[in-house]
Symmetry: C2
Subunit: 341 residues, 2 copies
């Protein structure tokens, strides 16, 4: 925290396909000075999330792309180093959106105070943060699983998927996860309490999925896209709901997708089985955040929701961390420790 | 009505692609006898609708396929010829689902009495029947246009499309229709009161559509599929709703669709623009039928909803009628007059 420079990771080049280390550049810059109403933050933890891949493209989306030479965006847990706002004091811990850097200035209204006595502060980036909220609002507003229905989610050991399955269980549904490899699948069933978890790399994965969903699929929480969709699709029941919050499997795609064109087949089933496919982004449900904090904190206290973190040491690990995340190499919520406590 | 034989049109062969006349066969059969609780009906009007194409395929859908040699299904307006149920008397007019034939037996609970004083009885097959109800529930439950929003619908001179646009106008939205040819487009604007109507066969149709929707598209009522989708898709606003009730343009498709695969592109936009794509079938909303009859009858009385019928003479015209319907050759709600009044 006593560094005299701001270290930051900027976008050096727009990736074609999977990002490479050279698409990022580590730089030093002067530590910024807070103005009235602002605070200076020392970043302790940086969240790595799939959406960051989208920001690296120069493509219109729900958020503006990151400019070349600008630091990568991201949610952070930080310590107030200097305050020019009456509500904040040095030493306090806050949730901020400071991005991939060691120091940042922020306005007071962009911050949420975190009390380490409530929960480990890193949970504000995962189960009690954006990923957990994504699961909560996607299931609560679109998926709406009823008791006895079957909910399927991929990336089930990750922060969104693990919350989706556990909330589904709390609502009385049958929760089936999909993950990469035996270790993750075992964790999803044994530690998180899903009813089943399947390895998508298994040769007979579609058959395994069908067997794990004997009553079909009522809610498919789409956070990956790609091959999982093809296995899920034939199993969807009439009136299935498909909240779409991520498509990590196709984020790195470049140009046209080869045929056949699956859209007419999907639309035919949308009609005849009356599917609801709906995209959402957690910040569209801002008004539900207090309910989320209340419910999720209670579920964690009661041991009904568990979580796992995968922590990398040092800001310079962030580029490789994101590249690995896009290939499913993390195991749990991926976080970079930017500064020692 | 005094015929001694039942004339009927049966499915002779399963079509590949667009049906041909030889996929149908006109037969005579004995007039069936009603049992206790049943009535004998003389069919006066037969409704022709796009969904009938689906029944000709041996493919799982929301309804069972028509068996080879069985009469084609369809909604009908009929006269009670003989009654073995206390609620029905000879001479009464009913809405039934008697299919492509001149005579049929029906159970009393499958019938709804029609009073010619309320409205022309053929409207029970169109604006006050299944097509009108499809428009009503699709807009009311999924499309939900708000005042000032833009609603787009294809087959705009047909019974579903014309109701969609007119209900959208009643709700204060901007209604843009799509139809085939100038005569239909003129009718849609001049008689039905849409704000604009575009000919999908025009070379610059996508540009015309963009111009007619200066504030983008908030609701696309999907009842056709195919090329219209491609023109609509880039114009959809954030949070657009896409009720899907029909895909006539692809009903005749056979085998795989050539690439590129549009699904990943669509899913990316579903996510980033938070679209809601939802299939529905009008009979899923049975409980809303009384509201529909009340509202639609009132709108017709007030002159706020208009309709047009395209009536073919004689049951033997039904096969060519359906084949033409699947190519957009009808102009208004397509009905076959099976027996003179």
């Amino acid at each position: 925290m006593s560094a005299s420079k701001n270290r930051r990771v900027v976008l050096a080049a727009r990736p074609r396909g999977l990002p490479k280390p050279s698409d990022f550049r580590i730089e030093e810059a002067p530590i910024p000075q807070p103005q009235d109403g602002e605070v200076l933050l020392g970043v302790r933890y940086l969240s790595l999330d799939p959406y960051m891949r989208g920001r690296m493209d120069d493509r219109k989306s729900y958020a503006a792309p990151t400019a070349l030479g600008q630091e990568m965006e991201g949610g952070t847990v930080a310590t107030v180093l200097e305050s020019r706002h009456p509500d904040f004091r040095p030493g306090e811990t806050v949730l901020s959106y400071s991005g991939w850097q060691s120091h940042a200035v922020a306005k007071a209204d962009e911050l949420r105070k975190l009390d380490p006595k409530d929960a480990p502060v890193t949970t504000a980036l995962g189960v009690l943060g954006m990923p957990g909220f994504t699961a909560y609002v996607g299931l609560g507003n679109i998926g709406k699983p009823k008791p006895g229905e079957t909910v399927v989610v991929a990336a089930a050991s990750g922060p969104v998927g693990s919350a989706v399955g556990q909330i589904a269980k709390i609502r009385g549904a049958w929760a089936v996860g999909i993950a990469g490899g035996k270790a993750k699948c075992d964790f999803v069933v044994d530690a998180l309490g899903f009813d089943a978890c399947l390895d998508h790399s298994a040769g007979d994965f579609p058959a395994q999925l069908a067997k794990a969903c004997p009553r079909g699929i009522d809610v498919y929480f789409e956070n990956v896209g790609g091959a999982v969709w093809d296995a899920v699709f034939p199993l969807l029941n009439d009136f299935a709901r498909i909240p779409v919050c991520g498509l990590i499997a196709q984020y790195n795609a470049d140009g046209d997708f080869p045929g056949p064109d699956r859209l007419p087949v999907v639309m035919r089933q949308v009609l005849s089985k009356r599917f609801q496919i709906q995209g959402f982004i957690q910040f569209d449900y801002e008004e539900q955040r207090p309910d989320f904090y209340r419910d999720m904190a209670q579920w964690i206290r009661e041991g009904r929701v568990k979580y796992r973190e995968d922590i990398l040491e040092g800001l310079e690990q962030a580029p490789e961390g994101l590249i690995g995340l896009l290939q499913g190499r993390n195991f749990g919520k991926l976080i970079v420790r930017v500064a020692k406590d």
